[in-house]
């Protein structure tokens, strides 16, 4: 097996991974950086983010406002020291991107424009029309090409972290083009592998979002934090799950039920505001968890519009007019027309809540460090946590910049602090063991399970039992089913036993990642006997700060369910209170 030695290796070349790589290259051009991704950087799912990135810049805004919005939006499960750091760094990072050429939309005077977003008290979401993530990703990728110290390994799939002497010292990865296993020996490793939304059948997430980065850390003993918090975005196209950005509502779009009523006013987000005059932090600019939950309640009452793709609410943008829609929401119009045959200029668009984002992830501290020395994480795969129980829209693009950079700087500090050189023989032995694990899967014959079959069962289980509202009975069933699926996974046999670009093998490994992450979600959800943010229990309807103002930590077990532990939330200045989205009407 070829060994590739590098100072720092980064797994994942989306927004967070690229930002980490650039931070490393700028901090110390002498450090070698290996940037590994299972796809080319431009394909990473950061490209699909639409609405924008939050950062305080306008004179009527303040750091305190952004802090309070984020902490309240997260139902007080955010670590407030991390939020303070995030808020302070946010405008610097967004300005840095501007300096690197990001085509942010502008005001008439040439300054950067901002738009309203859900749960935000002030306009602070920087945007590039409705392709903000796309432009952030491409700006970062293109900027990364300036730095000779960054060496990319495109289309390499990382399989196992190598931990020796109590610290992470690299990993093994399959080069897709050859099918060969490579051993990356690194002074420090950063995981920036994205989320795991593909464990659900109906999701905005691209095919790549299979929780591989989370699973790598989890199997190496690093806990996954707050995994029970899965965000449903309220407005996805009902057939494909394609995201229609929250900016639709930021620009003035409204949500109505089958009777034409703006039903959010009946779920603590009223009173009704004038059509076309969106008021911040109320009605359609409520937070995603509340809006998705209102949909569910309304559906139970039979107030939703029945379509061939299931029950929908209607997103009405017509009053914005063609000019504004084309200027501010061109992608929304394009995907609605293309995939659904509905033009938002002339007709309301049927939409329904869709799995969008994992608030939980690899447990890190404010320095993006995990409890395992030498291992750092950032982006959606990580949980710092700034998002708590519910992320506010437009905080995640900023998060991957702020903590991507932080991970790069922390890894640089760690490497330069002079950890002793690794034991080559021991590391090679562990890499060989990882290779043997993959080879066993690759060569196995007589297996009775199919990859597509197990994947479908997993997705159905998650949708049926771990959705917007949950109960003990459903979660118990989901946990049992996932334990069973994990056992059956060992009985998969690949159909494709060749080396070059073997997507059968790749998808089998991805399924393994998703099953591990899914079990962490359901077991954490079962144990959290309260309702908070995106985790709603029909059998425990209240938030319980006495017992659960704590982060859950799921610890991997190779053959059984994860062990769940807890860790106190860091509170600096905001005591848990009532989330108020009544537009100051109370």
């Amino acid at each position: 097996m070829e060994t590739i030695k590098t100072d720092v290796a980064i797994i994942g070349a989306g927004g967070a991974g690229l930002r980490a790589a650039i931070a490393l290259a700028e901090a110390d051009p002498k450090l070698s950086v290996a940037l590994i991704s299972k796809v080319y950087p431009m394909r990473s799912h950061t490209c699909a983010a639409e609405g924008g990135a939050a950062g305080v810049i306008k004179p009527d805004d303040s750091m305190d406002y952004h802090f309070n919005d984020t902490v309240g939006g997260g139902d007080w499960l955010s670590d407030q020291d991390a939020v303070e750091y995030f808020i302070q760094e946010a405008p610097k990072e967004l300005t840095q991107l501007e300096h690197w050429g990001c085509p942010w939309s502008r005001e008439a005077n040439g300054s950067v424009a901002v738009r309203p977003f859900g749960g935000m008290k002030k306009q602070r979401t920087w945007f590039a029309a409705d392709k903000s993530g796309f432009h952030i990703l491409h700006t970062l990728f293109q900027t990364s090409l300036r730095f000779p110290s960054i060496q990319r390994f495109d289309e390499y799939y990382a399989t196992d972290l190598i931990v020796d002497d109590g610290r992470c010292q690299g990993f093994t990865a399959i080069e897709m083009r050859s099918g060969q296993m490579k051993h990356f020996q690194a002074g420090a490793v950063i995981i920036a592998g994205g989320g795991a939304g593909r464990m659900f059948p109906f999701t905005t997430n691209g095919a790549v979002k299979t929780g591989d980065g989370m699973a790598l850390a989890y199997r190496a003993g690093v806990p996954l934090k707050d995994m029970e918090f899965v965000q449903y975005h309220p407005t996805g196209l009902p057939n494909t799950g394609t995201l229609l950005t929250e900016a639709c509502r930021g620009e003035g779009g409204i949500l109505v039920n089958k009777n034409g009523r703006r039903f959010l006013q009946d779920y603590g987000m009223g009173p009704e505001t004038p059509v076309g005059k969106p008021q911040l932090k109320t009605m359609e600019l409520g937070p995603r968890d509340r809006v998705s939950q209102a949909f569910w309640q309304e559906q139970k009452k039979g107030n939703m519009v029945s379509t061939k793709w299931g029950d929908c609410m209607m997103l009405d943008l017509r009053h914005l007019g063609e000019k504004k829609i084309d200027e501010r929401l061109p992608l929304v119009r394009d995907v609605s027309v293309s995939y659904l045959g509905v033009d938002p200029v002339t007709d309301p668009v049927p939409v329904r809540p869709v799995v969008h984002y994992m608030m939980g992830g690899i447990h890190t501290d404010i320095r993006a460090a995990t409890p395992l020395p030498g291992l750092f994480a950032a982006g959606e795969c990580a949980c710092v946590s700034i998002n708590g129980a519910n992320r506010l829209g437009s905080n995640s693009l900023t998060e991957l910049l702020v903590f991507g950079r932080r991970a790069g700087l922390s890894a640089a500090e760690y490497v330069r602090s002079g950890a002793s050189a690794g034991n080559d023989a021991a590391l090679a032995g562990k890499a060989a063991a990882a290779q043997a694990r993959i080879r066993a899967l690759f060569e196995k014959t007589g297996g009775r399970e199919s990859l597509a079959g197990l994947r479908k069962e997993m997705m159905t289980t998650m949708e049926d039992n771990a959705g917007i509202y949950r109960t003990e009975g459903e979660l118990l069933a989901a946990c049992a089913k996932l334990a069973d699926l994990r056992r059956r996974y060992a009985d998969i046999e690949l159909n494709d036993k060749t080396n070059v670009y073997n997507t059968d093998l790749l998808q089998a490994l991805e399924l393994g990642s998703m099953l591990d992450c899914a079990e962490a979600v359901t077991v954490s959800a079962l144990e959290r006997r309260e309702s908070r943010g995106a985790h709603q229990r029909l059998d425990f309807v209240e938030r319980d700060d006495k017992k659960f103002l704590r982060h859950s930590l799921a610890y991997y077990h190779p053959s059984g369910p994860p062990r769940i532990d807890y860790r106190d939330v860091v509170i600096t200045k905001s005591q848990p209170g009532v989330r108020d989205y009544s537009g100051d009407h109370k």
Binding site: M42, R43, R106, K131, G206, V335, A452, D496, T498, Y501
Partner: protein, 247 residues
């Protein structure tokens, strides 16, 4: 929702076992509103797990799933089954070596893209603490369309020049250089010009315009190439006929 059976003829090639590519016919049941990518996914899940292709976002923004569909470079996620009649022929993007099945080797594009220095080379450096560079909506509009490139490489598959002269930098790379050249914050044109105003650069383009026709994001690379040609010509005259005029 109604399903019906579609016929797909897909190019297969596996370097470990095939001496040359061949076509494989699949009959697959699909919903009528689906795209070709959905049909490929259905084939992979239910008929042939060995079929290999790239995809991710399913919304025409990640640029992974470019392929030839009935001979035209297309994104599979934006090619609707309803727009085709009879057998749908699916092949890897033209003008790129085949890695396997519908997966192409794109090293050439990645190298060329990097060569044109597709990043901002600031006209005036300033620290982040001094805030953003001002840029009017009109200044933004001058280059915005060229930022929309998703690197899907359909334009390379459509470009007859790239097919004949592989050294040609090609539409997407030159458009991206032009994007930065047109950015009011940028001062790097001279550096990029060394790459793009060469025979392998913009002068290979014969302005067939096929690149712009197939571009799924309406980037219009042909217009970028024409503008680069004009500006390069002006440079040449300035340099040779009016050497006293600074570029």
């Amino acid at each position: 929702m109604s399903e019906r059976v579609y016929q797909l003829e897909v190019l297969r090639y596996h370097p470990e076992t095939d001496s040359e590519p061949h076509f494989q016919r699949y009959s697959v049941s699909c919903e009528e509103e689906w795209v070709v990518l959905d049909a490929l996914n259905r084939i992979k899940e239910t008929i042939d797990p060995t079929l290999s292709y790239r995809w991710s976002c399913h919304m025409a923004v990640c640029g992974s799933c470019g392929m030839m569909i009935n001979g035209e470079p297309m994104l599979a996620c934006k090619s609707f089954l309803r727009d085709y009649q009879g057998v749908i022929r699916v092949e890897p993007l033209a003008h790129f070596p085949i890695e396997r099945d519908l997966v192409t080797v794109i090293d050439d594009f990645m190298d060329k893209f990097k060569r044109v220095k597709p990043y901002l080379i600031p006209k005036h450096e300033k620290p982040v603490s001094e805030g953003e560079y001002l840029q009017s909506p009109a200044q933004l509009k001058k280059f915005k369309q060229y930022t929309m490139c998703i690197n899907c490489m359909l334009c390379y598959a459509a470009c007859p020049e790239y097919g004949l002269i592989p050294k040609f930098l090609g539409p997407a790379a030159i458009s991206m250089a032009h994007r930065y050249n047109q950015d009011s914050r940028d001062g790097g044109r001279d550096e990029r010009q060394e790459e793009i105003a060469t025979t392998e650069g913009v002068w290979e383009c014969s302005f067939v315009g096929a690149c712009s026709e197939v571009c799924p994001e309406h980037v219009d690379p042909a217009s970028a190439l024409q503008q680069v040609k004009i500006k390069s010509t002006v440079d040449w005259y300035k340099e040779h006929l009016m050497p006293w005029v600074k570029k």
